[in-house]
Subunit: 279 residues, 2 copies
DNA sequence: AGCATAAGCTAACGGCGTTCGCATAACAGA
DNA sequence: TCTGTTATGCGAACGCCGTTAGCTTATGCT
């Protein structure tokens, strides 16, 4: 399981900047958002760029590498879930102290950002060649979803971050290939690709702690729908049995199909129907 | 701003169950998942049902109601963000202690679950009558998204929970009205409605801490795309400028349009094209 | 009037992310 | 080979978090 997660390039350990100790009488930085313009927030384009331009110094000592930290975090995430992904647990798994982790990672957010990109790596795989573009897109989307469902911890961390890491970019490149090849403009292809990704991630994300196929849960849902007020929720009461049994797989397949159908019509009819395309 | 959040029915305070102190020699519960079958997890259908069937006892004393707690939590969430939504801060805002909150709420998860449903209330509003069903759906989806964008804290809490509260159900009822009225079967309408909701929530969720229209961020993205390896990421490099400027609004509009187009084709062509509909 | 109890408070627990200061091992240049 | 520099580990602590136990007090019912 461990070898599933590919490692990327190694980075030097973090330097321990003296935090610019404000000497007595000196004003503290007035606008932290401005003065901290160095060290951008993890996940932003600026952060990825800065990270790459850092010189790869040689590492020393007993080699607790960033990759080792991420490996430990990854297995922890897979085996014990997102809630167990604490600095303490990672350090314990590695046999070091929490403080040591901060030599390789600025903070937990940065660790998670790196982890997400690494975890997304094995999700992208090329579909069979004899499919048309829409079938290929559907194939990839399903694979991506299955990967996330297999690793719920990863899915629960996917949030609020642009997907700009090397592994994520590979997915973007592939989607663009598909959609531009199918006839969409680069701009529309980009928007379509990210809306598809949004849908896949969202559909996994919103059903995380849930087993919608659990018969007990279905029973409770049916009971809930049935017992609503008929006047205000007529359809819920009327179709309680049907609604209670709709699974997240159904939701995904219907949404996926609809999105791809929509993309196809966008190709044949052109983007004329998009509201207020200019902005 | 406070009055935007409608309150629902008041509930009795939580009783302080003595935790069934295991008398000496008695075995502790072997399988907690089984023995805790009472008190289901917040957000599940069973939990909403149990909550309703609780008798509404009269409240006493200086009236720190559940509604007051949720009001305080809501304003806190709106003004200081999700990270500031701590039991301590809520208690401080109310002028009480943290422990008092637990008289009205089992734990933080329950509070958040109630908060989410309450926060979703004002998001649903009926569109103008002279639109066709697809335009109405688009109108509602945009309103929902705008509401979430105005209240990012709410959006960041929307996760992993079924949307079964009274306010959420109102949205479901309305979507079903629209889609069944348009000609979809109840089952397909339900799947379509939740995939649409998933897309709206997901698209807000994944762009939470981000301002994709920030020129500085766009510049960095362009730089990032441009500096990729041309051999592995040809399209990213080639269309760097275009890609960097695609906004989350673009993504949303394209996805929304595609979904609705897909639904429409599902109505005219029937569900024959859905893969493996039977399960 | 008296009682049961709902509903507040004080104080504490363990766990979390993070930082400070120090120790030490590895390399660089002499 | 020695020496100074620096990367990289560690111990201990800080402040915040959610949660609980045990108490006190005010309330409404009989």
């Amino acid at each position: 399981m461990l070898s599933e997660w590919c490692s990327h390039n190694a980075y030097p350990c973090r330097v321990h900047e003296p935090k610019t100790t404000t000497t007595a009488g000196e004003l503290p930085p007035t606008d932290p958002a401005k003065t901290r313009q160095t060290e951008p927030r993890p996940g932003t384009a600026a952060w990825w760029l800065a990270r790459e331009s850092e010189p790869a110094r040689q590492r020393r000592r007993r080699a607790l590498t960033l990759d080792a930290v991420l490996d430990a975090a990854m297995t922890l995430l897979d085996t014990r879930g997102a809630a167990a992904l604490t600095m303490r647990n990672i350090a314990d798994a590695l046999g070091c102290t929490q403080a040591s982790l901060y030599r390789h990672v600025r903070n937990r957010e940065e660790l998670v950002t790196l982890l997400i990109d690494r975890a997304i790596g094995p999700a992208s795989s090329t579909p069979p060649d004899d499919l048309d573009w829409a079938e290929k897109a559907a194939w990839s989307a399903r694979r991506f979803r299955e990967h996330l469902l297999r690793h719920p911890g990863v899915a629960s961390l996917l949030r609020g971050t642009e997907r700009l890491g090397p592994n994520s970019l590979a997915g973007v490149q592939y989607s663009l290939e598909l959609l531009i090849g199918a006839g969409l403009s680069p701009r529309l292809a980009s928007a379509a690709a990210s809306s598809l990704a949004t849908f896949v991630i969202g559909s996994v994300h919103l059903n995380l702690g849930l087993d919608m196929s659990d018969p007990e849960e279905i029973r409770h849902r049916r009971l809930l729908y049935r017992s609503r007020d008929t006047a205000t929720f007529p359809l819920l009461v009327q179709h309680a049995d049907t609604l209670a049994e709709v699974s997240s797989d159904d939701e995904f397949e219907v949404g996926l199909h609809a999105l791809l159908t929509g993309f196809r019509s966008l190709i044949t009819n052109g983007p004329a129907e998009l509201p207020t395309d200019g902005r």
